[in-house]
């Protein structure tokens, strides 16, 4: 963690917020940060971690004079490991709250534990609708958004742009289904028709030739895809190899055209359109501040994961402020206070619904273009409102 200390110290000095040690008269407040630091989602975890640090650094890593200490844990995207690490964080490290968590599978396993341990748990990604639906809990909040919140109105949007038929294509696992089914519901409600659904085995597929050939023969106007990481690279490249770029454009979200993949995709991304909850060029004050701080600390532009990590940290800091640096006796009180927050985040205004899930104020349609300096960047095309979450939470809190 040497390198982290260096830049953090520099950042703090530059803001002039390092204060002498005598201010630390209270024990530090401990935040467990659980992310899949190794493996396929390592880049996501890194982005979130960075954004989270920035949010805390904005407050000098302190809340009401009390130093905040981050205790990191790696859930390896596996529920059983997540459960172990959660117990370790709560019992051994004695953290005051738990943040992070990318995989919905891990999140579902943890929400029951959170309730048992009465430990406030604030998820950063975990987009499955059920997290704050069927499995909702007064001890659990989510600062990002739900699959339905993100994709339902996207379906409506593309249908309203005159697209009548589409193929949906994604990995055959929970997240793939919840995102694309949300898109399908929206698309069909607005009069579009999904002519084919293609589900490829998650993390097993290397060749999309068969799938793309089927899609090419379907007669649809677009392919709407949900993929991330290595799979996204392969899909976008092979889609181009088959000469489908003009005939059957591949539209997707921020993960299909993630900037981490741009080096691998080269010019293939130029002209691609996708939806996103955040991009560095967004015109609002919170974002300008966030992007400037990120550039100074990490010498590059923040990706969506960094923005979501920042929102997670910021929501926690704002809630802590309301308690004056002391954790409430019952963790549920922390979460219900967070639910009452409305704040300006880089992605736009963040507010929560009754089951503790953050809503999307705006979803942006962007096009990837070559900027004046030859570097790739995202150009704003349009925006629309995020949808409400699916109902499903039957608990009252």
């Amino acid at each position: 963690m040497q390198f982290r200390f260096h830049w953090l110290a520099g950042l703090l000095l530059s803001f002039g917020v390092i204060t002498p040690a005598f201010a630390q008269d209270k024990a530090p407040l401990k935040v467990g940060l659980m992310l899949p630091y190794k493996g396929v989602y390592a880049p996501v975890a890194e982005g979130i971690d960075r954004g989270f640090q920035l949010a805390l650094a904005e407050y000098g890593n302190k809340t009401s004079g009390r130093v905040i200490e981050i205790v990191r844990a790696d859930d390896e995207l596996t529920p059983s490991v997540g459960v172990q690490k959660f117990n370790k964080l709560v019992q051994l490290d004695k953290v005051d709250l738990v943040a992070g968590v990318v995989g919905s599978n891990v999140a579902i396993a943890l929400s029951e534990l959170a309730e048992k341990a009465r430990k406030p748990t604030v998820f950063v990604n975990a987009f499955a609708d059920e997290i704050t639906g069927k499995f909702c809990s007064p001890y659990v909040a989510r600062t990002s958004f739900s699959a339905n919140g993100f994709q339902f109105n996207s379906g409506k949007y593309w249908a309203s742009k005159g697209i009548k038929t589409a193929v949906i294509m994604g990995p055959d696992y929970a997240a793939g289904h919840s995102f694309l089914n949300a898109f399908k519901r929206g698309f069909e409600e607005a009069g579009g028709k999904i002519v084919q659904e293609i589900w490829t085995p998650f993390q097993k597929t290397k060749d999309w030739g068969a799938a793309l050939t089927q899609a090419g023969g379907s007669g649809a106007e677009i392919i709407y895809a949900f993929y991330a990481g290595a799979e996204a690279v392969q899909v976008v490249k092979q889609h181009a190899d088959f000469g489908l770029r003009d005939r059957l454009p591949l539209i997707g979200d921020q993960w299909v055209y993630d900037e981490a993949l741009w080096p691998a995709l080269g010019d293939l991304v130029v002209g691609a359109k996708h939806i996103t909850v955040h991009f560095p060029g967004l015109e609002n004050d919170a974002n300008k501040k966030f992007v400037a701080a990120y550039r100074q600390a990490f010498k590059g532009d923040p990706d969506v994961s960094a923005a979501l990590g920042y929102d997670n940290g910021k929501a926690i800091m704002l809630t802590l402020e309301k308690f004056g640096g002391e954790m409430p006796a019952d963790g549920a009180q922390f979460i219900s206070t967070m639910r009452g927050l409305i704040f300006d985040a880089p992605r736009g205004k963040i507010r929560f619904n009754a089951s503790n899930s953050a809503l999307l104020d705006k979803i942006y349609v962007v096009e990837i273009v070559k900027g004046v300096d030859g570097k790739l960047e995202r150009k704003y095309v349009d925006d629309f409102k995020g949808a409400d979450d699916l109902p499903g939470c039957v608990k009252a809190f």
């Binding site: 493996g39 085995p201 290397k206 060749d207 050939t213 990481g229 290595a230 092979q238 088959f242 691998a264």
Partner: protein, 292 residues
């Protein structure tokens, strides 16, 4: 009809990619009986050294030559200095080798991640092979046809080398009766190291060939090992002809099930493996002398 033809081409292309990987493993595991789970690591290393070469020269072709070099050297050294001594100790050879090479597979992925981070890279398709080719009224990506051609070329040259040359004969003799060949004054350990290197180089070659259609990243070699072993076992251990046909069967099964029976895709290949193991434990083209 046209769609089916397209899918058959896709299947052929995938088969050849699988074969490139399986060919090396057939030499190493099938023929020399060295259980090498690190085969995926050589695939990764080949892709990354190809990446370096193409980044330095701005062209695909040097990558194809440079890519297999590092796997060759590392593979030969590994066999000579690590795996052979492990075999000579002869405690529980397969278990020792499995643990050793399995660890190596993950260590390589970790080392690559340390050096390159977890970002995704790619090698650009050479301009001569970008675009589509018209074929029987179809337009098919030219690069994919190149993969098919590369598969056939490797299959042909391996067959000639193993069956028709002195090196091939010595290798087969060394496998059959090691003591006798040693007594004839041939350094079997060195020969095995070189053949292991060639097998690893083939994996590296496959890594470079795959790079333009797939993505290059630290974990790329891990998942691919399983499919490769399925091919080698289905084809019959040590049987090049067998792994060629098994590659075709596995590639076609995978592609056609993905196209026409998507729900079965996950287990189609494994169902095939189970059926073959029950009916012909020696593999489709294997002889009875060794059973997997």
């Amino acid at each position: 009809m046209q769609l089916l033809l397209f899918q058959l081409l896709n299947g052929l292309q995938l088969s050849m990619l699988v074969f490139l990987l399986a060919a090396g493993l057939t030499l190493i595991f099938g023929l020399m009986n060295i259980l090498n789970l690190a085969h995926g690591a050589f695939f990764t290393l080949g892709a990354y050294s190809g990446l370096l070469a193409s980044a330095a020269t701005g062209s695909f072709w040097p990558a194809l030559i440079v890519g297999p070099m590092l796997p060759f050297v590392l593979g030969a050294l590994l066999q000579y200095f690590v795996l052979q001594p492990l075999v000579d100790r002869g405690r529980s050879t397969h278990l020792d080798l499995a643990l050793m090479t399995f660890g190596l597979l993950f260590a390589t992925a970790g080392a690559v991640e340390l050096l390159y981070g977890s970002a995704f890279y790619s090698i650009a398709i050479p301009s001569a092979l970008s675009g589509q080719v018209s074929l029987l009224g179809l337009s098919y990506p030219a690069y994919r046809l190149f993969i098919v051609a590369a598969g056939f070329a490797v299959a042909g040259s391996l067959k000639v080398v193993v069956d028709r040359t002195l090196i091939g004969a010595t290798l087969r003799a060394g496998v059959d009766n090691r003591e006798m060949v040693t007594a004839l004054g041939i350094n079997v350990n060195l020969l095995f190291a070189i053949v292991f290197g060639v097998g690893a180089a083939l994996a590296g070659f496959a890594g470079v060939i795959a790079a333009p259609v797939m993505s290059v990243y630290s974990q790329m070699g891990i998942g691919i090992v399983v499919t490769t072993f399925v091919v080698v076992v289905v084809g019959g251990l040590g049987n090049l002809k067998g792994s060629f046909y098994a590659s075709l069967i596995v590639g076609m099964t995978d592609t056609l099930s993905q196209a026409y029976l998507p729900d079965a895709e996950m287990f189609a290949v494994y169902a095939l493996l189970i059926v073959v193991m029950i009916i012909r434990p020696q593999g489709l083209f294997g002889t009875v002398s060794r059973v997997a």
